[in-house]
């Protein structure tokens, strides 16, 4: 078992942080890599990109939104309890290189994924502007951590309850207009990443995104995670999860993410009813 040693609720309890004892994975993990977690014997294998690791302590941190039965099971695990299985680190690590001015854009729990990447890019000497956003003030996560990981942090909310009133893409556009941006990293819901890439393409600025397709094994043996990048089929679990955003077929990814929507709804409803009883 992989024990949870710290747990936090964020964004009004819709987002959960778990710091988990997993020394072997923590020792090897690099920014951008993910793990696959399975709560119990009957559970599903769920991929989550790590939000942090602490090799000395032997822990890794994941942050996730509760969206279905599997993440609800994760949420119900208390400190001292744990995951039956965690596999990793999986996927290719972020290519950390000094390129100059980097804009990191995060939406939703994508901010959690963005965090170690941003920190890594800062450590190698880049000038980091970070833009994070959420629907409303209370749903914003990791503001302090992102502030520490960047030189300039800008916050937006869709409803204007905090920071800039509007989308992260609006602010990003302003920053791009100022000029001098060498790289954009955009991580969040697929429509957001698609919107980011549409704009950065106009500005001709290289853009990296981190994809989250449906996965099973995470080692390249099933092909369930296939995405089209530059007209070619790639396996996100081994060739990614990060890709050149200008090459990604986001529409296909959005459709493929719907493969099991019916089943997921059914499982979640049954789970919620059971808990209520």
């Amino acid at each position: 078992m992989f024990k949870i040693i710290a747990r936090e609720e964020m964004a009004e309890g819709t987002v959960i942080l778990n710091e988990i004892d997993a020394p072997l994975i923590a020792r090897k993990a690099k920014p951008g890599q993910f793990v696959i977690l399975k709560a119990n014997e009957t559970g599903e294998r769920i991929p989550l990109t790590m939000a942090d690791t602490n090799p000395e302590k032997g822990t890794l941190t994941v942050i996730y939104m509760v969206v279905g039965k599997s993440t609800a099971l994760f949420r119900d695990l208390k400190v001292g309890e744990g995951y039956q299985d965690i596999i990793g680190p999986l996927g290719a690590a972020t290519h950390l290189e000094k390129v100059g001015k980097v804009v990191c854009v995060g939406g939703g729990t994508g901010v959690a994924v963005l965090h170690p990447i941003t920190r890594g890019l800062k450590e190698v000497g880049n000038d980091i502007t970070c833009i994070i956003g959420s629907r409303t003030k209370d749903l914003l996560i990791m503001e302090d951590l992102m502030k520490a990981a960047s030189h300039d942090l800008r916050v937006c909310t869709d409803d204007g309850s905090y920071g800039h009133h509007g989308f992260v893409t609006d602010v990003m556009k302003e920053v791009l207009e100022e000029g001098g941006v060498n790289l954009v990293v955009g991580i969040g819901p697929v429509p957001m990443m698609k919107a980011v890439c549409k704009i950065t393409k106009e500005f001709n600025v290289k853009t990296v995104v981190s994809l989250n397709p449906i996965m099973v094994d995470g080692t390249g043996m099933c092909g369930g995670c296939r995405v089209t990048v530059g007209g070619k089929t790639r396996f996100a679990c081994v060739d990614g999860p990060e890709f050149d955003g200008h090459e990604v077929d986001f529409d296909e990814l959005m459709l493929r993410l719907q493969a099991y929507t019916e089943e997921e709804k059914k499982s979640y409803n049954e789970h919620c009813n059971l808990v209520k009883q």
Binding site: T42, G223, S267
Partner: protein, 466 residues
């Protein structure tokens, strides 16, 4: 003697096709002690048993069969164990018709002795009764071996080396041991409980098991050496699904056989929603390819409620690579075969879901490199098949996850590991490899045979030198 030959081969009792095509229980239900003894009486006890030559791990076939004949089932299993640590598995999934039974002298004029059924019988008898004592272990050598992959070849290596007195740790990337025996072969052909009980047997002997360990990611081969392992065996399987590379292949409803079977078998999607992992349940299912994996997929689809389950294969019936028994089982259950048919395109709706497949009819031309007649398309023979699930079962390539992250490991042009045919030695000192990651997709028993050779070679290395 003449009288003996009159005993007919004892049929294997099976669930009726119309019943079994709706459940995941095992299809053959197994011999009774009486029919097993009767079958054993058919064996001629040849002085030079050619059946043994046909067995990749060299089981003493007449030896164990004569014990069955005497009703000494426990002694019989011990005899099998001398050479084969996974008899319950092999009795079920080996292609005996090409191996031991294919060579059986009785089979020259009559039907061969049902060696596979007898092997299965003694293994199952022991699993129910647990009377045999564990095989003797040699004195500890103090040497440590890492076995990467817990499929058939890895399990064989682990079983052999633990008996020779070495310390053995099995590393498995999935959360459950067994490799293809667990994620690939369906419950109705090989109940998972049998695999787990064979693995539990190894653990009882002292083999350590590390699941969730992706060697190449969680830990590298060189780190294993640093941790004090003296030798490493790589038996990770082929594990890279091939696709057709035709338009529409990323529609929802098109899965590799690896994904389809892993969801259904390992993740137990057939018991969804009791188990959380779902799998797409097609009404009209097409499986591309005609190997054993394709048969497993097409038969699984029926059990998950498909109204039609069709196999589409670009060559003819004569070239079908699956075992005859598997094809027969599939046909009995209602799987339809479309031979000489080549898919050209998948069709979908606005939600990105599969709705059909376009194909071309083929005819056979001149033999190709493989010696099989090459299928060539018939012009103007385009047609459409309706389907909402397509399973791609056209084989696997070499998964590069481990090999790419390991220095000094020589690969061939298809990226399989180069290993000595006799010993399994690779180009990297202290590292052996065997099974599908060396040969490409083959059978369980061939992988076990490779494991046996490598285990002998590893033992020599640890006691004599490289």
């Amino acid at each position: 003697m003449a009288k003996k030959e009159l005993i007919p081969r004892q049929p294997m009792p099976e669930q009726a096709p119309e019943v079994r095509s709706k459940n995941f229980e095992e299809v053959p239900t197994g011999q009774s002690p009486e029919t097993a003894i009767r079958e054993a009486e058919r064996c001629l006890q040849c002085k030079k048993p050619v059946c043994v030559d046909g067995c990749p791990v060299g089981v003493d076939i007449p030896g164990f069969i004569s014990l069955v004949k005497e009703g000494k089932f426990t002694a019989a299993i011990s005899k099998v164990w001398e050479k084969n640590g996974l008899p319950a598995v092999c009795g079920r999934v080996c292609p005996q018709e090409l191996q031991c039974e294919g060579k059986c002298i009785v089979g020259k004029k009559n039907e061969p002795v049902a060696i596979g059924n007898l092997e299965r019988f003694v293994a199952d008898y022991e699993r129910m009764n647990k009377k045999a004592s564990l095989p003797e272990k040699a004195a500890p050598t103090g040497k440590k071996i890492a076995v990467v992959g817990s499929g058939p070849s890895g399990l064989t290596v682990a079983g052999d080396l633990i008996l020779k007195g070495h310390e053995v740790t099995l590393f498995e990337a999935f959360h459950k041991p067994g490799g293809v025996l667990v994620y690939g072969i369906p419950e109705f052909r090989l109940p998972k409980e049998i695999v787990f009980s064979e693995v539990a047997g190894l653990e009882k002997l002292g083999v350590k098991l590390e699941c969730n360990a992706v060697v190449g990611r969680t830990i590298s081969l060189d780190e294993l050496f640093e941790e004090g392992y003296d030798a490493i065996y790589i038996g990770v399987g082929a594990g890279l699904p091939r696709f057709l590379n035709i338009p529409g292949e990323n529609l929802i409803g098109i899965l590799s056989a690896n994904e389809y079977l892993t969801r259904s078998n390992l993740m137990k999607a057939y018991r969804y929603p009791e188990y959380d992992t779902p799998v797409i349940k097609g009404k009209n299912v097409i499986t591309l390819g005609a190997g054993n994996v394709a048969m497993d997929s097409a038969r699984t689809a029926l059990r998950l409620g498909a109204e039609t389950s069709r196999i589409v294969y670009r060559r003819s019936r004569d070239e079908v690579p699956a075992r005859a028994a598997e094809v027969h089982h599939a046909e009995e259950e209602g799987v339809e075969f479309f031979f000489l048919t080549n898919p050209t395109k998948f069709l979908g709706n606005e939600k990105g879901r599969l709705t059909g497949m376009e194909g071309l009819k083929m005819e056979l031309g001149e033999p190709d490199d493989s010696g099989r007649r090459r299928p060539i398309p018939i012009e103007g023979s385009e047609f459409e098949l309706e389907c909402d699930l397509a399973i791609i079962a056209v084989g696997a390539g070499a998964n590069p996850l481990l090999t790419q992250s390991t220095e000094g490991l020589k690969l061939n042009k298809w990226e399989y590991i180069e290993a000595d045919e006799k010993t399994g030695k690779t180009s990297k000192k202290g590292v052996w490899a065997g099974g599908d990651i060396v040969t490409g997709s083959a059978t369980v028993i061939l992988a076990m045979g490779a494991g046996r050779q490598a285990a002998d070679s590893i033992h020599d290395y640890l006691t004599i030198g490289w």
